[in-house]
Amino acid sequence: MNPQQETTLSGYNFAYLDEQTKRMIRRAILKAVAIPGYQVPFGSREMPLPYGWGTGGIQVTAAIIGAQDILKVIDQGADDTTNAVSIRKFFARTTGVETTDKTARATVIQTRHRIPEKPLTENQILVYQVPTPEPLRWLEPRETETRRMHALEEYGVMHVKLYEDIAQYGRISTSYDYPVQVNDRYIMAPSPIPKFDNPKMNEMPALQLFGAGREKRIYAIPPYTTVKSLDFDDHPFEVQAWDHSCALCGADDSFLDEVVVDNMGSRMFVCSDSDFCSERREAGHQSDGLPQVVVAQAAE
């Protein structure tokens, strides 16, 4: 890497972090890649944005980004939301790298809560922002104990959570941050992506890196690694489905957001992946003539 090249903001090192810190993070990443799904502790730094806004993801991205990379940042699938805009601007100013909205063009994609609809390739790296890296935390508050459970592969308790879902709701109601088993070994929290995206993690050609800034953990899924969502034999894993298709592009195979459009409670369903939706519309797809907006029944 060539520091200080075309840095648009003077006085800062390339990608904000100093080189020693980036090396430390890269070492953590290498270890994480070597042990898929294992949470590697690292010396998380203070970043110029609050915890919970992506400090983990931003440090991982800073450690791996090079001058030739093309960066895409998404938040809930969209390129134009606050979090995505500020992180993209941050890297544009501290590295001078090219940024893009196009999934296919990007080499590094930092994401919060979604995996792009378009399948990723071997030339891409997906960086997740993770609030709670420990999937066992829900049932075991002690860190010493969860580490031991990971070490000894004592994962029965994860199914207690799923059992409880079925007992209370008749089905597995966990719909995001749905626990997965990586490479038939570690149980991993996939960050709060919808379970709709879980199958995309399995055997993905792209490298997947996870950074949790507040919790100071990095973990990874190397390319082409088995990722299995936990389930019961008689209640198999299944993803969300919608009665609607996208109100803008008509896609019926993407993750849809429900958007409230007026004070009456009228709402529409649109693709959460804004790049996927706009590409489809540019290609001439549109909603198939059904009412685009679900109008609320007028209250008496």
């Binding site: 031991r148 000894l152 004592e154 029965g156 207690v160 059992y163 409880e164 007992a167 034999d233």
Partner: protein, 260 residues
């Protein structure tokens, strides 16, 4: 006195020191299959320390605990690997705590509490797990329609019985009980004792029972150890020890029981 059966658990020279203070000292005994051993003594006499050492939850300062597993192999508990030890704790052993909150997950349903051990050993069929859990609730006299209720909504006696079901579901061979009837009123105590006695007999369980209540050991335990200041001062058949106490402390203990 000879026996042809191999002891389920052999305890040799077991001591636990807390710095310069004694938890328990020089404990030696054998526990045979199907036997219920009572440990009595005053508060602070080292009963719970001993129980924790036996059940692999507290590493002793010296001495050994050897357990014979289902295959007949002797395992030195504190020499075995941690994963082996924890597997034993989940499958072969059960621990009934004095306070049900220590032994239950209060925020998940009764069914999930009972089913946890099954899931821990790899059962992955929801319907089967639930059926087994419901069956066990019935066996510990909890109405089957409470299977989806959280233990928080249960009475103290029900929580204690749920804890027993949660432990027995994996078909353990040895159960450690720390004051299982503590904190319950006498009529609930009687019912719980009745239940415990029936389960222990039906399942052929061995048990180590810690209590300060002599009536409880009289009812449940075949053999009795009396502890005083970290050491065993007297042991023998329960009725023999209670009816003809030899050691001064045991005599004091037996004569201190209030008669209504």
């Amino acid at each position: 006195m000879t026996t042809l059966r191999h002891p389920l658990m052999q305890v040799r020279d077991l001591s636990k020191m807390y710095g310069a203070r004694t938890g328990c000292r020089d404990i030696d005994f054998d526990l045979y299959p199907g036997e219920v051993l009572g440990i009595v003594g005053e508060s602070g006499s080292g009963k719970t320390t001993l129980l924790n050492c036996l059940s692999a939850r507290l590493e002793p300062t010296s001495g050994s605990v050897i357990y014979q597993d289902r295959t007949g192999a002797d395992i030195d508990i504190y020499q075995a690997s941690e994963s082996r030890r924890r597997l034993l704790m989940r499958t072969d052993w059960g621990v009934v705590h004095q306070n049900p909150k220590d032994g239950l997950r209060m925020r998940v349903s009764a069914g999930a509490n009972v089913g946890e051990r099954l899931m821990a050993v790899g059962q992955r069929h929801y319907g089967d797990i639930r059926e087994t859990a419901t069956d066990w609730l019935g066996r510990v006299e909890i109405a089957e329609d409470r299977v989806d209720d959280k233990p928080l909504t249960f009475s103290g006696g029900m929580q204690q019985r749920l804890q027993i079901a949660r432990n027995l579901v994996s078909g353990p061979r040895l159960v450690f009980m720390d004051e299982p009837t503590g904190g319950l009123d006498v009529s609930v105590q009687a019912r719980l004792l009745d239940l415990l006695r029936r389960l222990v007999t039906d399942l052929g369980l061995s048990a180590v029972l810690v209590t300060h209540d002599l009536a409880v050991v009289r009812l449940l335990a075949h053999r009795l150890m009396v502890m005083h200041q970290g050491q065993v001062v007297e042991q023998g058949l329960t009725d023999q020890v209670l009816d003809d106490p030899q050691h001064a402390y045991t005599q004091l203990l037996v004569s201190s029981v209030l008669q209504p």
